[in-house]
């Protein structure tokens, strides 16, 4: 399993060591410069729309800090609301247990394929690799996560997992890998966002859960069945 503990991927070199090669990669640096400058410009534009953005940010920070400080209470509260809404909450002490639970749930359905939505928690615990070891193939549905998966890569940013890739590289990854995962990449790919690789046979889904309100019935908790709804209402949601 290539997943990890402590938030750092095992098998990855230390940051200064990885940076030694990365700063010499002119394509990578060009990609990141372009992407981060675009994002910063958009942020500046959005920030300029509201006069109290600094207060809003501070309010958001306070909510997050408060929730983390009382995580024990809020996790139990989430469990209560999810259970009341007909879902099932599974508790896992570590990455290994979480992966084992998810693999078990997929196996119970009799399926060997599962679709996933974007989830950094499952990246960190190495869920896809753990499922693969159990003979279960996981399909990413988020475009950026799919680019990372097909490129046999690692997400480089918590919100923008494929921020290090440019359009040409993405086109090349899809052209090379997509046929093996479903249907071949269409001509003119990356001129517009590609279709998802959903295909018959994917009958399981899993979803993550951030950020979530503990006090309301979780509307986005339910798993995303690709075709049949045999999976519902058993959420294997995040918080792992």
């Amino acid at each position: 399993m290539s997943g990890t503990s402590g938030g750092t991927y095992l098998g990855m070199p230390a940051f200064p060591e990885a940076a030694h090669d990365a700063v010499r990669d002119t394509t990578l640096r060009g990609n990141l410069r372009h992407a981060t400058h675009t994002i910063r410009a958009k942020r500046a534009h959005a920030v300029a729309e509201v006069s109290d953005w600094a207060e809003l940010r501070e309010a958001g920070k306070r909510i997050k800090d408060h929730t983390l400080r009382h995580l024990d209470r809020y996790l139990v509260q989430v469990e209560e609301t999810v259970t009341a809404a007909g879902g099932t909450v599974h508790w896992a002490a570590d990455a290994e247990e979480a992966n084992r639970i998810v693999a078990g749930l997929v196996r119970e359905t009799g399926e060997s394929e599962v679709v996933k939505v974007k989830s950094m928690a499952t990246q960190e615990i190495g869920l896809n690799e753990a499922l693969e070891a159990e003979g279960i193939r996981a399909y990413e549905t988020d475009l950026a996560e799919l680019i990372v998966q097909l490129g046999k890569d690692r997400p480089s940013h918590i919100l923008v997992p494929a921020i290090h890739r440019n359009r040409g590289e993405i086109r090349e990854i899809f052209a090379r890998e997509m046929s093996e995962w479903g249907r071949p990449a269409p001509e003119g790919l990356t001129d517009s966002p590609p279709n998802s690789p959903r295909r018959p046979g994917c009958t399981c889904g899993r979803s993550s859960c951030a950020p979530r309100s503990a006090s309301r019935a979780p509307t986005s908790w339910s798993p995303r069945p690709a075709r049949s709804s045999s999976w519902s209402p058993r959420a294997t949601g995040g918080c792992a």
């Binding site: 940051f15 200064p16 940076a19 030694h20 700063v23 640096r29």
Partner: protein, 89 residues
């Protein structure tokens, strides 16, 4: 300031990359950031790069000399202390 023309620096909000021990612990990234900063300064065609922090200036001065960029790092105080009799540049 009489006799001085201020030229805006592209990417002025970005760090020069020195950051104290950061330059030691992450030398490659520090250097790369310094090079970006100097290249941005060079693109303005200015004779001097002014900053208000000596650590930044030391880092950028070293980067300039290694890149053989014909520009000098200048502290804001040096500009304020200069006179017509004793000009800066």
């Amino acid at each position: 300031m009489k006799g001085l023309e201020l030229v805006e620096l592209p990417g002025a909000e970005e760090c020069c990359g020195f950051g104290g021990t950061f330059a030691v612990k992450n030398a490659d990234v520090s250097t790369a950031m310094g090079v970006d900063k100097v290249r941005n300064a060079e693109a303005t065609g200015a004779d001097a790069l002014c900053a208000a922090d000596n650590s930044c200036l030391m880092h950028l001065g070293g980067t300039m000399s290694r890149l053989k960029v014909d520009m000098r790092p200048v502290h804001l105080a040096e500009i304020l202390a200069s006179t017509e009799e004793e000009p800066l540049v």
